[in-house]
């Protein structure tokens, strides 16, 4: 027997609850603009949305890191090739040196001294550039960014040596999932050649390269003296601090060590026939600083017998470090370009992720409006019918 009071009540309240719940859900979707407001709305889609949101945050972080990496690399490039940068300074140094080797100031001591002072200023400038900071941190010290990578020693106010005290590890940073890139470079990799050639002896003492592989770098001054007591020639590469005696008849591979650096120069001493100071240059081992120091000091040595030859070789040294810096500028530039492209790619990935999230989450407002009006009609209908059924019964007709 359908139509009992309780069944009418059950049916009406069930229907009204259904419509109310549906309308509340639609209203929430309309007000948030999202069809998924909690995982239970659609668990599998929610899992994707959570993953995509996480991916977006991660990509954003990568892009921040990339921006910082690009800024540091831009600064590093600027140090090398920008206005007032190292390459420009080396070009100036080369021009000055050419004026000497070209003879303009060859016989003009004051002019030479002016140029020498200019070279010294360039050296100061370059050391300062090598110790450039980005937001308080040194950019050419590798992973050690808190202390100045290049430390100088001075005599009478002038730099006599520049020593690298930074780290030999690059500062690597993850800039994309699984992709590491160096942000802070090891200064030694940027400012020093690492393509060792055979030593070239530029002097008249008769000393020749030994058969061993020397470990001295850049320009080394080999001093050949004669010991009146022992009657032997003596060799030194540390300004006489330590001396090695040439055995009678000489030695084809005599080790001469620098007591300060521990570096060794192998000398064929069999043909040494006179004393003197001989420049030994090792192509492929120059660094920017010691090259300039060497140029400055050589320009001051006016009494060298083969000054022209030396100056020409100094130009070669300068060319070597100039070429090194240009090469490294290209490396830094292409790294920057690569990172810019990577950033664009990550940006695109982020946009894609955002689009995907929007697509998955976004509520269809038009559909919601249609559904809402449908449920409204159903709700009103349920109320109306309930009212009718409840209000009308046989009792109305019993008189």
């Amino acid at each position: 027997m359908s139509g009992t009071l309780s069944s009418i009540y059950n049916n009406v309240s069930f229907a009204l609850n259904l419509q109310m719940e549906a309308m509340a859900r639609l209203q929430e979707q309309a007000s948030t603009g999202s069809r998924i407001n909690r995982a239970s709305d659609d668990p599998s889609t929610a899992f994707r949305v959570l993953g995509l949101n996480s991916q977006q945050r991660s990509l954003e972080n990568y892009m921040d890191n990339l921006s910082q990496a690009i800024s540091i690399l831009d600064l590093s490039s600027h140090v090398l090739e920008g206005q007032g940068g190292m390459i420009q300074a080396l070009v100036t140094a080369k021009t000055s040196l050419t004026q000497v080797t070209g003879g303009i100031f060859a016989e003009d001591p004051e002019g030479r001294e002016t140029i020498t002072r200019g070279i010294n200023e360039i050296l100061e400038q370059i050391v300062s550039l090598a110790n450039t900071k980005y937001t308080g941190h040194y950019v050419f010290g590798g992973s050690n960014s808190t202390s100045a990578p290049y430390v100088v020693q001075r005599t009478d106010g002038e730099i006599t040596s520049v020593t690298y005290q930074g780290s030999y590890e690059n500062r690597d940073v993850e800039v994309a999932p699984g992709m590491m890139t160096s942000v802070l470079y090891v200064g030694e990799d940027i400012f020093r050649s690492n393509n060792r050639g055979d030593p070239i002896f530029l002097g008249n003492t008769g000393a020749k390269p030994g058969t061993g592989t020397s470990s001295v770098r850049g320009d080394t001054w080999l001093t050949v003296t004669f010991n009146d007591v022992s009657g032997q020639y003596e060799l030194s590469i540390d300004d006489g601090a330590t001396k090695v005696a040439v055995p009678p008849g000489g030695d084809t591979n005599q080790a001469v060590t620098d007591s300060q650096t521990g570096r060794v120069l192998y000398v064929d001493s069999t043909q040494i026939n006179s004393t003197g100071v001989e420049m030994v240059r090792v192509p492929g081992t120059y660094d920017v600083f010691n090259t300039l120091i060497s140029i400055r000091d050589t320009l001051r040595k006016t009494d060298l017998p083969n000054a022209d030859e030396l100056q020409t070789n100094l130009l070669n040294s300068l060319d070597e470090v100039h070429k090194l810096l240009v090469q490294n500028t290209v490396v830094l530039g292409s790294k920057t370009g690569f990172l810019e492209n990577l950033k664009d790619s990550l940006q695109k990935l982020k946009y894609d992720a955002e689009d995907e999230v929007t697509r998955l989450e976004e509520a269809d407002i038009a559909q919601i409006a249609v559904d809402l009006s449908r449920y409204e009609v159903l709700y009103q209908m349920a109320l109306l019918i309930a009212g009718k059924l409840m209000s009308m019964s046989l009792l109305d007709f019993i008189r």
Partner: protein
């Protein structure tokens, strides 16, 4: 005179029927009321010859309109609905509290931000801004974990309390049912019909079924027995009361009062829902959350204990408070070694010592570990264990210590066979990138007899083997410039220099000379440092107590970002940041983020499934209720029609009596 009795019986029957109609209409809205119907039967009067004459109408009884099958099914569905509704309500609350997809600081966001902050720190591990960001992000994440952990724990307490209240109501209903059974039986055993009492009793049974799943059995004289699970709680008028409590596994269960024999698997009703929530649903969610927090703590600490931050090595480290000092009580400690590095701050000399852990009877307690560190094996460092089982390590004046896996600047082990007249100095540098502790052995080969000079002897080489297997040759003869770095592999370098400080002018090596370089990927193979809180980043072990160690949050420079010997690298920060994308076996092979996303969607799935279940049961229940209403409910129209019938019957019977009276008067006039 039978005509009078016929008329009176008709009048009486119609009046009683109208009473029942009135009673039905009066109870049309009464919960649990079953429509009643009067049963009328013709009354036998007399036989005259072959004629059987009726004697009016008898009231055979008043029947409750009940379909027992439907009633049973309603009880069952009501019970299921009670359970599902309770589960759904709680799960909804949990889902809302997790707040994923709506809240901006939900746990997934804070986890991401923490690992992203670590990644930021990689760009500059010495920068205080990044260090502080890591601390803030870590504290926010830990706070979010604790909020959720405490909420779930609070929810479990609330469930226990709610279950205690519900069981009180269950016991009250059991008593009511038994009492009503007794009353019903007394009436019906005398042949009466206790319809209204039955309705009351059945209403109690329905209420009971909403609280817990029940089985009922109807016996003679209207008595209904009730069982809850295996417990016969009502048998006639006797009862067994129940209690709730926690069993030895902290699982909520129901037991006969005083028996403490808890059944944790009761189904149905609100109590079934509460048991299921406490013992399974919430328990699983909390376990997963604890597991996630525990893995993040453990993995972070495992890396953190081995590194150092921008503030460098330590002069003192104090572990956290431990419940036991017996290392076998620590689930994460296994037999292995912790390697301590001690540095003389004046000379820079570094030594490394292996601390045995669970190797034998003398290395299985914290005190024994402290004694070893305190003893002669580890010079210039002392250690103690206090009454709270905290391990405290102290460096002597002028010394510092750490657990860095950095290679020592000189090859290890110290004894090496360099037999040349003026052997070179061997220096090791770099940061090992391998994943296991290994030994690189370099053996001199291809020189001539006697001394061979580095940089001079043609073909002189070092044969490099890693853990006994050849990996490469490094040429140190002609072509090698003394002092230059040679790539040993896996991020390590060696260089051979001339020992000018001792007035040597050559670096002499002889065939067969060898030295070993120990490369460290893990300086705590036992896990003891992370387990006892030495140089850890997080403290705690679960979502409830995860926190950033106070000495780290007060001194961000202690965040152990570096592993290299110069302590300026970001290798450890990278390792820690890399945890974000690391599949962890303890998290079912998922990354922390994926594991958490799965947890959130699992809760969502539970909610969705329960919601669908509730909807389905609600529909079934509505249909059953309609069906029940068809049989047992009061239809006003029907009752009105009945009322018309019996009203007319009454009027007709009155007319009949009037007619009989008239007949009798006429008859009397004849006399």
């Amino acid at each position: 005179m039978s005509s009078y009795s016929i008329g009176i019986s008709g009048l009486s029957a119609a009046q009683k029927a109208l009473d029942i109609v009135g009673n039905n209409i009066a109870n049309a809205a009464t919960d649990g009321y079953h429509r009643q119907r009067i049963e009328l039967t013709p009354a036998y009067a007399s036989q005259i010859g072959s004629l059987f004459l009726g004697g009016g109408v008898d009231i055979a009884g008043v029947t409750r309109m009940v379909d027992n099958f439907i009633e049973q099914e309603i009880l069952r569905q009501q019970s299921s609905l009670g359970q599902v509704s309770k589960e759904l309500a709680m799960l909804r609350t949990i889902e809302n509290l997790f707040g994923e997809l709506t809240a901006s600081d939900a746990l997934s966001t804070t986890i991401d931000k923490f690992f992203n902050a670590l990644q930021d720190l990689c760009t500059d591990p010495t920068e205080i801004t990044w260090q502080s960001e890591v601390i803030t992000a870590a504290e926010t994440m830990a706070g979010q974990f604790r909020t959720l952990g405490q909420f779930l724990t609070g929810l479990e307490s609330q469930i226990t309390l709610e279950a205690e209240n519900a069981i009180g109501r269950v016991n009250a209903l059991i008593n009511q049912i038994a009492g009503l059974n007794d009353d019903i039986e007394k009436i019906e055993i005398r042949g009466g019909k206790a319809n209204n009492l039955c309705d009351q009793r059945d209403q109690c049974v329905i209420e009971l079924s909403e609280l817990i799943g029940i089985e009922t059995q109807t016996r003679e004289h209207g008595v209904v027995d009730v069982s809850i699970g295996p417990i016969p709680v009502v048998v006639g008028s006797t009862i067994i009361e129940l209690e709730v409590g926690l069993d030895e596994n902290n699982r909520l269960g129901i037991s006969p009062a005083g028996a403490s024999n808890y059944n944790t698997d009761m189904q149905g009703g609100q109590l079934g829902g509460l048991l299921s929530l406490k013992n399974k649903l919430i328990s699983e969610i909390r376990d997963d959350l604890d597991n996630l927090a525990g893995v993040i703590i453990q993995e972070m600490n495992q890396y953190h204990v081995q590194g150092v931050g921008s503030s460098g090595s330590f002069t003192e480290l104090t572990g956290w408070v431990n419940a036991s000092e017996d290392l076998s009580d620590f689930s994460t400690v296994s037999a292995g070694y912790a390697y301590i590095r001690v540095t003389n701050t004046s000379s820079g000399a570094v030594s490394r010592t292996a601390i045995p852990v669970l190797q034998d009877d003398s290395s299985d307690t914290l005190t024994e570990i402290a004694s070893f560190i305190d003893g002669a094996d580890v010079a210039n460092v002392s250690a103690t264990v206090n009454s709270s089982n905290q391990l405290i390590i102290l460096a002597d004046e002028g010394y510092k210590f750490d657990f860095l896996p950095a290679v020592l600047p000189e090859p290890e082990p110290t004894p090496k066979t360099l037999t040349g007249t003026d052997p070179p100095i061997i220096t090791v540098s770099g940061i090992y990138t391998g994943t296991t502790n290994s030994v690189f052995t370099c053996t001199v080969a291809d020189g001539g007899a006697g001394d061979n000079k580095i940089g001079v002897t043609d073909g002189l080489k070092l044969q490099v083997s890693k853990d006994g297997e050849w990996v490469k040759d490094l040429y140190v003869g002609l072509g090698y410039a003394a002092g230059d770095r040679l790539d040993l592999g896996d991020g390590l370098y060696i260089s051979l220099s001339i020992d000018v400080n001792n007035d040597k002018t050559a670096g002499d090596l002889r065939n067969g000379d060898n030295f070993a370089v120990k490369a460290w990927a893990d300086t705590d193979t036992s896990g003891v440092l992370a387990a006892v809180g030495i140089n850890t980043f997080f403290s705690g072990s679960s979502a409830l107590d995860i926190a950033v160690c106070s000495n780290i949050s007060s001194s961000p420079g202690r965040i152990a970002t570096a592993l290299g010997p110069d302590m300026t690298d970001n290798t450890n920060a990278q390792r820690m940041a890399g945890l974000k994308d690391e599949s962890v076996s303890g998290l079912s092979g998922l990354t922390p983020g994926q594991f958490y996303h799965r947890l959130v969607t699992t809760i969502g799935q539970h909610v969705l499934v329960k919601q669908m279940r509730e909807d389905n049961i609600a529909v079934v229940l509505k249909n059953l209720a309609n069906q029940q209403s068809d049989i047992s409910g009061v239809n006003i129209n029907d009752e009105a029609a009945q009322m018309l019938v019996f009203e007319q019957m009454f009027q007709a019977m009155a007319k009949y009596l009037s007619t009989v009276q008239s007949l009798m008067s006429s008859l009397m006039e004849l006399v």
